[in-house]
């Protein structure tokens, strides 16, 4: 269970990947991941290919990130989520706040 962050050379793109069950035990790592040197133009993507599940604490962490980075609704992409994760996003209507693909 860990969090990885990758920033492209020209700071155009930040990809944060989350491995395992996404919950508050990742609070600090997750904060560190998005507190890197991103500009207003940096595209932010959360890659959930290795995320097994997500819960309400993690949803709160996502909202905190959005607020911290001052992104509009839909300004952050979430990609590769599995069915269970996708269902939680659907139930909580997170597609109104994040660009879930």
């Amino acid at each position: 269970m860990s969090i990885g962050a990758k920033l492209s050379e020209n700071n155009e793109l930040l990809v944060i990947s989350i491995q395992g069950a996404f919950d508050f035990s990742m609070l600090n790592d997750f904060r560190v991941a998005y507190s890197t040197d991103v500009g207003e133009q940096t595209k932010i993507v959360i890659d959930m290919r290795d995320t097994t599940s997500i819960n309400s604490s993690a949803l709160g962490m996502l909202l905190n990130m959005q607020r911290h980075l001052k992104r509009d609704d839909g300004g952050i992409d979430i990609i590769n989520s599995n069915d269970a994760v996708r269902k939680v996003f659907d139930i909580t209507h997170f597609d109104k706040k994040f660009n879930i693909k």
């Binding site: 990758k6 920033l7 492209s8 050379e9 020209n10 155009e12 793109l13 990809v15 990947s17 069950a21 919950d23 508050f24 609070l27 904060r31 595209k43 993507v45 890659d47 290919r49 290795d50 097994t52 599940s53 997500i54 819960n55 309400s56 604490s57 949803l59 709160g60 962490m61 909202l63 905190n64 607020r67 911290h68 992409d77 990609i79 590769n80 599995n82 069915d83 269970a84 994760v85 269902k87 939680v88 139930i91 909580t92 693909k101």
Partner: protein
């Protein structure tokens, strides 16, 4: 020593007797006799002699006719036929040779000359036999080789044909110096929609170089099917090739993933020439350089699987190529080079692959191709989805009912992760396999609700900002550390009667009870979302005992 069998053909018994006497003085010979040409042919067939001494003039079939016939029968096997003649030397020689004979001896015989001639021809026969054995062996080996090559080709074709080569995404050219190719180019789609490419070049050419493509293809397709990340594929390929290949062999490769939306490119490059990202109107947007050693050189502990990411937009095109393209040489030795390649790519708008190959061929002129050449264009667009495959699920299978009870003490709450352990147990029942993720969420939310709000009494604390969030969890940790005499009990009951399959989860605690369950949770504040999720997932959600007990029903 093998006994040499000599056939003596003469119509006069005295001549045959004379020859027999001479021959028997030479050790190792046995003698058989024929009285004319016809009998000679029949004895040749039945006795398989090693050498024939042939009289020329005999009643019935003569020596010349008989010789032609025997030579015809023996085919490629050398059977020496020496004419025994009283005729003058020159005409005897020319007649004997024209009828297929190999030599002649004149009467009267000189025993030593006869012996020398016989031995000389037997040596030729021996050499001839060895040669034809070798020939047979060569023929057999060649047949085996051809057959093996066909089989190997089958392996390659069936490994490589799994590639997903959609014309809207991929254009490519691949030419090899021999049937088998050291260049590898594979494309696959992951279940989550990403497009994966591996393009690379094994050291060497031909079959030895191509050997490595099979493990590469097998690992690649399998890992893509599991939605693996590029860094993990790179690591696995490196580790396997490091184990499999001789030290002198390695695999220079570019691995990449284009996400389903065609907006993010993730690359790992080891030992490959730079590749080009080209935007609209041929603008060179980015040159991506190789940052690593080729695969199969470093042991796993020293291997660096770090990938790079690149932001791409609709219709950006990426060009990958093997060094054969830029190292193609013209007669004076000058190479095509990356500048020429870049120029061709950026100075046109379509059919760039075709144009590059044409330029390379024109450049090389009459020079023979000295390396495998592969050139690939990847269009960064949305990837067509894989058609969903119906699961042969457990939907109609009856399974046994069960009950699981778990009681947690304060220590358990501090030190264990009951949610993931319980999810593992439930997920191991086949009927729950597809629901494991959702069950885990459900268990997490009701456990969190009982622990944080009823047991730890944290229900009044706000979690609206990052700071409050952190403070909340700091406080939670502290309270958890000091916790004593707490108890949470899970009862899970699975039943599958009347076509209904459901699990009822009951969670009881000895805390102060959850007070917030009547609060409106439809607003978008950060807390309360947990029970929102529970409400949406479950058919029935019932609190009792002043919020100390919660029973939820999840239908499958």
């Amino acid at each position: 020593m093998k006994v040499v069998k000599i056939l003596v053909v003469d119509d006069l018994p005295t001549n045959r007797k004379l020859l027999r006497q001479i021959l028997l003085k030479i050790s190792g010979f046995t003698v058989i006799e024929a009285k004319d040409g016809r009998e000679a042919i029949s004895l040749f067939n039945s006795e398989n002699p090693d050498l024939i001494l042939m009289d020329i003039n005999m009643p019935g079939m003569g020596g010349h006719e008989s010789t032609s016939e025997i030579k015809k029968i023996s085919g490629d096997t050398y059977i020496p036929i020496i004419f025994v003649t009283a005729l003058s030397a020159e005409s005897a020689l020319s007649d004997s040779l024209s009828s297929g004979g190999d030599d002649f001896v004149s009467k009267p015989f000189d025993a030593d000359v006869l012996k020398s001639k016989i031995n000389a021809h037997l040596r030729i026969r021996e050499l001839n036999n060895q040669l034809s054995l070798k020939n047979d062996e060569l023929k057999r080996m060649n047949n085996n080789l051809v057959r093996e090559q066909e089989l190997i080709e089958h392996f390659f074709n069936s490994t490589l044909k799994q590639s997903f080569l959609d014309k809207s995404l991929i254009d490519f050219h691949m030419s090899s110096m021999s049937t088998f190719n050291g260049d590898v180019f594979l494309v696959a789609r992951s279940p989550k929609g990403g497009l994966y490419v591996v393009m690379g070049d094994f050291t060497g050419h031909g079959l030895t170089a191509a050997m490595g493509t099979i493990p590469v293809a097998m690992i690649f397709f399998k890992m893509v099917a599991a939605n693996s990340a590029i860094k993990d594929i790179a690591r696995e390929l490196n580790d396997q090739l490091y184990t499999l290949m001789p030290v002198s062999m390695f695999f220079a490769a570019t691995l990449l993933e284009l996400n389903a939306q065609g907006s993010i490119l993730t690359t790992w490059m080891g030992g490959m020439p730079e590749c080009y990202l080209v935007g609209e109107n041929g603008v060179l947007k980015d040159t991506i350089q190789s940052k690593h050693m080729p695969l199969g050189i470093l042991r796993d502990s020293s291997f660096d699987s770090a990938t790079e990411i690149h932001n791409v937009i609709n219709n950006d095109k990426l060009y990958l190529y093997s060094d054969g393209v830029i190292e193609a040489s013209r007669p004076d030795g000058e190479m095509f080079g990356s500048e020429r390649l870049k120029h061709v790519i950026t100075s046109s708008n379509n059919n760039r692959i075709e144009k590059v190959i044409r330029e390379v061929n024109e450049f090389c002129g009459t020079t023979e191709q000295s390396d495998d050449i592969t050139l690939v264009e990847l269009s960064c667009v949305e990837i067509p989805r894989i058609d969903e495959v119906e699961d042969a699920g457990w939907d109609n299978k009856h399974t046994l009912p069960w009950v699981i009870s778990i009681s947690l003490s304060s220590d358990d709450m501090r030190n264990t992760d009951p949610v993931s352990e319980l999810s593992e147990i439930i997920g191991s029942f086949p009927v729950f396999q597809k629901h494991k993720g959702i069950i885990e969420v459900l268990l997490y939310e009701i456990y969190f609700n009982a622990l944080d709000y009823s047991i730890l009494g944290l229900g009044d604390f706000e979690k609206n900002t990052e700071e409050e969030f952190e403070a909340y969890y700091a406080l939670r940790e502290k309270k958890l550390k000091d916790l004593a005499d707490a108890s949470i009990k899970f009862d899970l009951t699975y039943s599958s009667t009347l076509g209904y399959e459901q699990v009822v989860i009951c969670i009881k605690d000895n805390g102060c009870g959850y007070q917030g369950h009547e609060v409106d949770m439809s607003n978008s504040s950060l807390h309360g979302r947990g029970l929102d999720i529970v409400n949406s997932i479950c058919d029935k959600v019932v609190f009792s005992d002043k919020g100390r007990m919660l029973e939820v029903t999840y239908k499958i």
